[in-house]
């Protein structure tokens, strides 16, 4: 099969996926910011893997789906994960707990934000992971020159977790607050509540794999979801099962299902 991977990187997990598929006889091309032209030229592959959620790759995903080329994971779902507001409503609909979320310009925040709201954390609306994230301990920390409305979340003080899922396998790690996926983590043997969160999340949106970032609040012991991802690097996956082969086989299985459905239609 001819497989395209939409990814900002050519190495890391993307490189491993490419090698795995190639070693199984498939022809694989990686499309990144330097070689991706979104037009008819993309339609020669059988299906695409949407590894990165940057808008460029989502654009490609929408284009391909409109032209009946399967994209895995689904583009709309990846966008929901990418856009923090869409993600907020998706998590809320699943019945999982979230921190309070606010938006406003510097002036409206100045009028409304009382001391009790802090600490707050600002995040880019279209973002994922810890990139562009900032903590504000008081209103004075906010730059008055910011012109665009800020997206702010209550900063939950407590224990932070990175929780992966690949089909029915979970890997839950404790991590440092605000660290990215690649930071140092400690494996947690079992956490029933986090596992329940993962089950609900993946089943609500029919996800093959992904991750949630969670925080258990120190004072209340409540568990909050603070971020969700469709396609992690699995750099902190600590179980025996090989994430590369498992993820690739799930993708192939999904592709066969999509093709079968299309043939029935």
């Amino acid at each position: 099969m001819k497989i395209g991977i939409l990814s900002k990187r050519t190495g890391n997990f993307t490189g491993k996926i490419k090698s795995y598929f190639e070693s199984n006889g498939h022809q694989v091309s990686i499309f990144n910011a330097t070689n991706l032209c979104i037009n008819e030229s993309l339609l020669e592959n059988d299906f695409y893997i949407l590894k990165s959620k940057h808008m460029l790759y989502l654009y490609a995903g929408y284009y391909l789906e409109a032209n009946k080329i399967p994209v895995i994971p689904d583009t709309s779902l990846s966008y929901t994960h990418k856009n923090r507001i869409e993600s907020y409503f998706a998590i809320k609909k699943t019945g999982l707990q979230l921190p309070s979320v606010y938006m406003g310009t510097f002036n409206s925040l100045k009028n409304k934000l009382q001391d009790s709201y802090f600490p707050l954390i600002s995040k880019p609306i279209l973002g994922s992971g810890s990139k562009g994230v900032r903590v504000y301990n008081s209103f004075n920390d906010i730059n008055p020159e910011i012109e665009e409305p800020l997206y702010l979340e209550s900063f939950i003080e407590g224990t932070h977790y990175l929780a992966y899922f690949i089909e029915n396998d979970f890997c839950i790690c404790e991590k440092k607050p605000l660290s990215n996926e690649h930071g140092e983590t400690n494996l947690i043997e079992s956490d029933k509540e986090i596992e329940e969160y993962l089950k609900k999340w993946k089943s609500r949106y029919n996800l093959l794999f992904g991750h949630l970032d969670l925080v258990r609040e120190k004072n209340t012991n409540r568990l909050y979801v603070v971020d969700a991802g469709t396609f992690p690097e699995f750099s902190n996956w600590k179980h025996e099962i090989d994430p590369v082969s498992k993820v690739c086989n799930l993708i192939l299985k999904k592709f066969q299902e999509v093709i079968k459905l299309d043939n029935i239609r």
């Binding site: 910011a33 330097t34 070689n35 991706l36 032209c37 979104i38 037009n39 808008m55 460029l56 654009y59 929408y62 284009y63 409109a66 507001i85 869409e86 907020y88 409503f89 309070s100 979320v101 606010y102 938006m103 406003g104 310009t105 002036n107 409206s108 925040l109 009028n111 409304k112 934000l113 609306i125 665009e148 409305p149």
Partner: protein, 275 residues
């Protein structure tokens, strides 16, 4: 006596001051209008109360769109236009994809990394996200008999001091004597034609009202449905072969250009309001 319909106008300072005065003047006597302004509004996703019968979104900033999204997700109050349709309308690439998927003729398009030329002889390079209130600023080049039009906003956004992205949107240029302009406000539709802005930037100078065109009507409603807009305007170019190509779709048209435009919009919102 029946109480007046309550309309929530979700807007920003620019649209409020420059585009909404006549609308507000008309609504003063027929509706109760509350105004949500992007620059002043504090959006708290877990603490809100809306008692409006309908919301009218007349802007496209991030806070405006997310307020609209909150209302759509958490209430049954109609929102016109929806947050999704506005986002699709201002994203040239995505609306091209969705329009073509719906069977609407749009000029051929491509999204390329900066520096990579499109596969068209005549083309326009446009900004991808047309969310801000600044105008089309074309640089026109003619080389070897071919036309290259570059919108300065596309250069600023992809290669300026602080590039927002590193790729550009190209649309194949369609030669047309006239640019056809269609306004849709619910079931009402209005038709005009004007000299294309590339030929005469003062679009209103040459604008004339034209009679109902059945083909244009069908295309326009199909396009509005594909994007999800109920109030919008569209630009069409007609090729030598007589094909209408949709080149632009706008979720926030200036309805002051229409005779009785503010009244038509106000009355439409009242008809669509939740009872």
């Amino acid at each position: 006596m029946d109480s007046l319909v309550k309309i929530g106008l979700v807007t920003d300072k620019y649209h409020l001051e420059k585009k909404s005065t006549q609308f507000l003047k008309y609504c003063k006597n027929v509706a109760d209008v509350s105004i949500y302004i992007e620059e002043d509004y504090f959006l708290d996703f877990s603490n809100y109360k809306f008692d409006e019968n309908i919301f009218f979104v007349k802007a496209k900033g991030d806070l405006v769109l997310n307020l609209a999204k909150l209302i759509e997700q958490e209430t049954d109050i109609p929102v016109i236009n929806s947050s999704r349709s506005i986002s699709l309308a201002f994203n040239r690439f995505l609306n091209s994809v969705f329009l073509r998927k719906a069977g609407i003729q749009v000029p051929d398009f491509t999204l390329n990394p900066v520096g990579k030329s499109p596969p068209y002889k005549d083309y326009i390079m446009k900004n991808i996200i047309d969310q801000k209130s600044y105008a089309f600023n074309p640089q026109i080049q003619k080389k070897g008999g071919y036309l290259k039009v570059i919108d300065k906003r596309a250069i600023d956004e992809s290669s300026g001091r602080k590039p927002k992205y590193t790729y550009v949107y190209f649309q194949e240029f369609v030669k047309s004597k006239w640019e056809h302009k269609v306004y849709i406000i619910g079931d009402d539709i209005f038709y005009y034609k004007q000299i294309p802005v590339l030929v005469n930037p003062d679009k209103m100078k040459s604008r004339i009202e034209i009679e109902k065109d059945q083909e244009l009507t069908e295309i326009a409603y199909k396009a509005a449905e594909a994007i999800g807009l109920t109030i919008c305007s569209m630009d069409f170019l007609r090729s030598k072969k007589g094909i209408y190509y949709l080149t632009d779709i706008n979720s926030s048209p200036n309805f002051n250009y229409l005779k009785n435009g503010p009244k038509i919009v106000g009355d439409y919102l009242i008809r669509r309001a939740k009872t």
